[in-house]
């Protein structure tokens, strides 16, 4: 299965800017479906970005993040061609991981 994570990491020599887009329903648990049944909560809880074996950014999320979440941040360092590892785990224990090359 294709990864749910799309990452773009670009280095300008000094800092690396990271944008990530993840496919996930992000159901908050407060929304009802067409039959009036509550859609149970299903959302990403933790999203981690690792560079050079260290976490450079960690997101703790609740159900208030939009469907198919987007996040953008930047960190100092990061060389072109190096790996950036991205992984998430949701409230049902599902997880996904991908590794992106810094451009």
């Amino acid at each position: 299965m294709a990864s749910t994570i799309r990452v773009r990491a670009t280095s300008n020599g000094d800092t690396t800017e990271v944008q990530a887009l993840i496919q996930h329903p992000m159901d908050s648990g407060f929304v009802k479906d067409a039959r009036g049944q509550i859609i149970p909560p299903h959302f990403i809880q933790e999203l981690t970005f690792e560079y050079d074996g260290k976490a450079v950014f960690v997101a703790d999320w609740g159900g208030g993040i939009s469907k198919d979440p987007y996040v953008k941040f930047a960190f100092k360092g990061g060389k072109k061609g190096d790996d950036l590892k991205v992984s998430w785990v949701d409230n049902k224990g599902a997880t996904d991981t991908t590794t992106a090359k810094i451009q």
């Binding site: 800092t15 992000m26 908050s28 407060f30 809880q45 933790e46 260290k54 976490a55 450079v56 950014f57 960690v58 997101a59 703790d60 999320w61 609740g62 159900g63 208030g64 993040i65 939009s66 469907k67 979440p69 987007y70 996040v71 953008k72 941040f73 930047a74 960190f75 100092k76 360092g77």
Partner: protein, 164 residues
């Protein structure tokens, strides 16, 4: 012969059952003790904070203190969000030694939206997209050098995107 066999296995079952109960009881004690110990550590997912209805309770659980408004925290959010399901909000700050940034929406069923850990070397600037149930204050909290700074902005949510 068969009788002794049965007796043996019955005893064995009892012993196993007993051992199982003891093991379970042991696990029970551990799982009751651990959450308190983990809550002190900062790297655990703050489950309870995400369940709070009010932003004050969520902030208290997350940081154990209150925030002061600061003009050094710059929030970028729309005046009017036509679609409350996708509201782009970003924050940046000139504060130094930032360790975390949190987003809250006061009128949402659960106020806390996201809490980002900012390790040393990461720029204290985050953009994300959040859900808003209705018109509400969006609050951003920046933890810098152990203190909390905040910025607040009201975002109007129009239902159906007709501007009404």
């Amino acid at each position: 012969m068969s009788i002794t066999d049965n007796e043996f296995s019955a005893t064995r079952r009892l012993v196993l059952k007993g051992a199982g109960t003891v093991a379970l009881a042991g696990l029970g004690v551990i799982s009751f003790d651990l959450p308190a110990a983990f809550a002190a550590a900062n790297d655990k997912y703050p489950e309870e904070a995400f369940k709070q209805k009010s932003e004050a309770d969520a902030v208290k659980l997350l940081y154990g203190r209150t925030a002061e408004l600061s003009d050094k925290v710059k929030m970028d959010a729309p005046e009017i969000a036509e679609n409350g399901a996708v509201v782009p909000v970003s924050v940046s700050t000139t504060l130094t030694d930032v360790t975390s940034i949190a987003f809250l929406v006061s009128e949402n069923p659960n106020a806390l939206i996201a809490s980002y850990k900012i390790p040393a070397g990461t720029i204290p600037s985050v953009a994300n997209r959040i859900k808003m149930a209705k018109t509400s204050n969006v609050i951003v909290i920046v933890e810098a050098a152990g203190k909390l700074y905040s910025a607040t902005k009201e975002v109007k949510v129009t239902v159906g995107g007709c501007g009404g």
